[in-house]
């Protein structure tokens, strides 16, 4: 038996293999790493990169032709429908973000800090389910509930009350978006509140701080990164959503996601659809960096 084949007792914290077996040592990570790396590059990174490239291409005779042309950017960014949709989508996403944070926080606070461990576990399990269960169906269900001949209105009629115009406005849109954002935002805030140092709250209470003071000066600052993450998530989900604006407001007015789908499905204007998509990504990246910067400051203190 050669020395190299003996089990190494001293090098316990790294995989075996001494001199001359460097290639063997690299084999396993390569074997594990290459497939997943290639996969994510081929089906995620490259498609997005291609999307950026296409924004500079031209459409000739209904076919894409490689070019370096800024005309698509100019055309889209200066067009009124795009600008309107951009402002509207940002507005909608901001409102949905604020609403979902305001509605989720009291619930998360109660779940994380007031409920028993068992009830908390159940709530977490309950909140995870809607995150991964059919959103398109839920939007349809709200259509059924809110439409003129739907559950609410037929219910009102049974009680002899006048019908309410619920579908096709800000209310129904926000109901739809909250269906998307509320469970995940509540989860993030719950985890953030569970993870904070609870003795801080107790200490503040013992020092005579009021409930409001504890909230604004202890609890909220302590979960700042969680607040940031929850806010970014809500914004991201509602900014890019397609189903709620289509089925709960009838695409009127259109959001950026609707513009993309219409442009793509109508055929040839790929470069312009790509410009909208890349602009959306840029805005989301900006929002993420901004929130990250705001919440990171706190950590270094």
């Amino acid at each position: 038996m050669t020395e190299a084949s003996l089990p190494e007792i001293s090098a316990a914290s790294s995989p075996p293999g001494g001199r001359g077996t460097r290639r063997a040592r690299a084999a396993l990570p390569l074997l594990l790493g290459l497939p997943v790396a290639l996969w994510q590059v081929a089906f995620f990174v490259l498609p997005l990169a291609f999307l950026v490239v296409v924004t500079f291409w031209k459409v000739r005779n209904f076919r894409l032709a490689p070019a370096f042309d800024l005309a698509n950017w100019e055309k889209v960014l200066t067009s009124t429908p795009f600008q309107r949709a951009l402002v509207y989508t940002a507005e909608v996403a901001l409102v949905a973000t604020v609403l979902s944070m305001l509605l989720a926080f009291p619930a998360a606070h109660a779940i994380a800090l007031r409920l028993s461990a068992r009830a908390r576990g159940r709530w977490i399990a309950f909140l995870i389910i809607p995150v991964f269960s059919s959103y398109i169906l839920k939007v349809y269900a709200w259509q059924v509930v809110l439409s003129p001949g739907g559950l609410v209105n037929t219910g009102l009629a049974l009680l002899g009350l006048p019908a309410a115009d619920l579908l096709g406005g800000t209310l129904s849109l926000n109901i739809g978006l909250l269906t998307l954002t509320l469970p995940v935002v509540t989860l993030i805030l719950t985890f953030a509140l569970m993870g904070m140092d609870h003795s801080l709250i107790e200490a503040a209470r013992n020092l005579g701080a009021s409930k409001v003071q504890v909230l604004t000066q202890v609890t909220l600052p302590a979960i700042k990164p969680g607040l940031g993450l929850a806010g970014v998530t809500a914004f991201l989900l509602s900014f890019g959503d397609y189903a709620s604006p289509v089925f709960l407001t009838g695409s009127n007015p259109p959001t950026l996601a609707i513009l993309i789908v219409d442009t793509v499905k109508s055929g040839s204007q790929w470069p312009r659809a790509s410009v909208i998509g890349v602009s959306m990504l840029a805005i989301l990246a900006l929002a993420f960096v901004l929130v990250q910067a705001l919440t990171q400051k706190r950590k270094t203190r």
């Binding site: 007792i9 396993l28 594990l32 497939p35 994510q40 998509g277």
Partner: protein, 262 residues
């Protein structure tokens, strides 16, 4: 105490809001009314029967099963690779790789769908279940890696080292020590990836062409007339999602993990 009552009322209202759309689908899939309305029109299984006799729904169901199973298998394997790489090794390019695995769910599916369609449209994968699978894997692997990485964090550094010291090769240690240890999280990752794929409709709509999955079928039914079959398919879809997500939670012990930190 009024504070306590108010708190419970608020939580109940939130739970109702979240559960409402799912309850509506299930309850009214058994309603004899053609359009779901009050009062309840009587119990019927007609819509379920009609949905199950609809050739397009059946083919969508078949596609959905193929796509979500394929996605689940691949996303679990790739997710494990990524999680183990992250846990065990330091190497050049690790951060970009981990980002490429983690980030896809954060990109709006509309944009992702458009990008993936542009990339796949010139390949034979376009319009096939395989095309949907490769795209869904790129999204689901993020969740799968996260679940498995959590579990790997609980594997003490000694166990694998002990195997090496006893003469196991890195591959043998991986196979006989690490993978059995990760088994619950692998099952959880499988179920969650299947659920993610089963519910996804934008990418599947863009990339699938004429091969519709169930949520894409629902999307297309929604664009047409009111159709009570939607409730019936919806009940089935929700039941499958519920089972998959609940299984994922059981095996990942997400509720339990919550208790530990409390």
């Amino acid at each position: 105490m009024t504070g306590r009552i108010l708190r419970n009322l608020y939580l109940a209202a939130l739970a109702l809001f979240i559960a409402m759309p799912m309850l509506v689908i299930v309850v009214f899939s058994f309603d004899a009314n053609r359009f779901p309305a009050l009062p309840w029109g009587g119990f019927t299984l007609n819509w379920h029967r009609e949905a199950l006799a609809d050739a397009m729904i059946l083919s969508a169901m078949k596609n959905s099963v193929i796509v979500s199973l394929g996605t689940a298998v691949l996303a679990t394997v790739l997710g494990f690779s990524a999680a183990y790489l992250d846990y065990r090794y330091m190497f050049f390019g690790k951060r970009p790789l981990m980002l490429a695995v983690a980030v896809p769910p954060a990109v709006p599916v509309t944009i992702l769908g458009m990008a993936m369609l542009a990339a796949l449209s010139r390949t034979p994968m376009f319009g096939t279940p395989a095309g949907i699978i490769v795209c869904h894997v790129a999204i689901a692997v993020s969740f799968s890696m996260a679940l498995i990485r959590l579990r790997l964090g609980e594997l003490g550094p000694d166990l694998e080292a002990a195997a090496w010291n006893l003469g196991a090769s890195p591959l043998a240690a991986l196979w006989h020590v690490v993978i059995p240890f990760c088994k619950p999280s692998l099952i959880a990752a499988f179920c969650l990836s299947a659920a993610v794929s089963f519910d996804e409709f934008m990418v599947a709509w863009f990339v699938g062409g004429v091969n519709e999955t169930l949520p894409v079928r629902v999307l297309n039914l929604l664009q047409g007339q009111v159709n009570p079959k939607i409730n019936a398919i919806g009940t089935l879809v929700l039941a499958i999602s519920l089972i998959l997500v609940t299984l994922a939670q059981r095996f990942a012990r997400l509720g339990g993990a919550g208790k530990e930190t409390a």
